[in-house]
Symmetry: C2
Subunit: 119 residues, 2 copies
DNA sequence: GCTTGACCTGGAGTGCGCTCCAGGTTGAAG
DNA sequence: CTTCAACCTGGAGCGCACTCCAGGTCAAGC
């Protein structure tokens, strides 16, 4: 059981972002009698996943879709897996593009090693 | 010498984006007597560079800085090179993070292979 | 000469993902 | 019991990188 600030510290998301994620229905966290949020280890697990998906460029709408499916129960496991696999494929493409452009960049830097060109 | 639509086609940027880049001073292209833009091969070269930098996540403000330095002449070559090297370093970090989160993602998918977990 | 499609400008609007704020509440420490 | 930092809510605002629009201009082909 973690207080909001602790959840923020552990997940790397800001308090505002955690509140935002709850507001849009991505996350649903428990409350104390007084109305304060209480994060469980399971919530933290979700945050780790969201960080993974966010860092790999998944749009929030798709994360919402995934979370919604998970809430619907075990029978959506196939669809959830498919969603992740499609995403993984896009990430692979992203990695290839990034590597390709990185190579370009390094080549450009090598031009400066010998002598600058005009661009 | 290329018309705007041809420059868009070759660079992969939209016409609006090309106009936008000019408006913010990132690019400066010639005109016909009638006021239409004319893109040279050198302009296209810049666009290739901008695509590389954009695809690797450089903010536009930094591209502007680079372009400005280039306009100032040969004596800024060192600073330009440093700018690109710093960027390349950030790209390397980005690639490491992406690879790391991709591995997470693949592991998550493997969970679904055996049987779904709840997240 | 006329048509028509590509082009021009300035400026407003969009989508995303937060981030900030005002004004009020809670609860642990002293 | 008091204090005060951490928390709450709804809603406005922001930064980025475009994208779209209205209303007008240019020039190649018929």
């Amino acid at each position: 059981m973690y207080a909001p600030s602790e959840a923020a510290r552990r997940s790397g998301f800001s308090l505002d972002t955690l509140r935002y994620y709850e507001k849009i229905g991505l996350l649903s966290v428990g409350r104390t009698s007084g109305g304060r949020r209480v994060f469980t280890d399971e919530d933290l697990g979700w945050l780790v996943l969201f960080r993974c998906l966010r860092d790999t460029g998944m749009p929030i709408a798709q994360m919402c879709r995934y979370a919604e499916l998970a809430r619907e129960g075990e029978h959506t496991a196939g669809e959830r897996k498919a969603l992740l696999e499609e995403h993984a494929t896009r990430v692979e493409e992203q990695m290839r593009l990034l590597q390709h452009q990185y190579d370009h960049l390094r080549e450009k830097i090598r031009f400066y090693e010998g002598l600058g060109d005009s661009t």
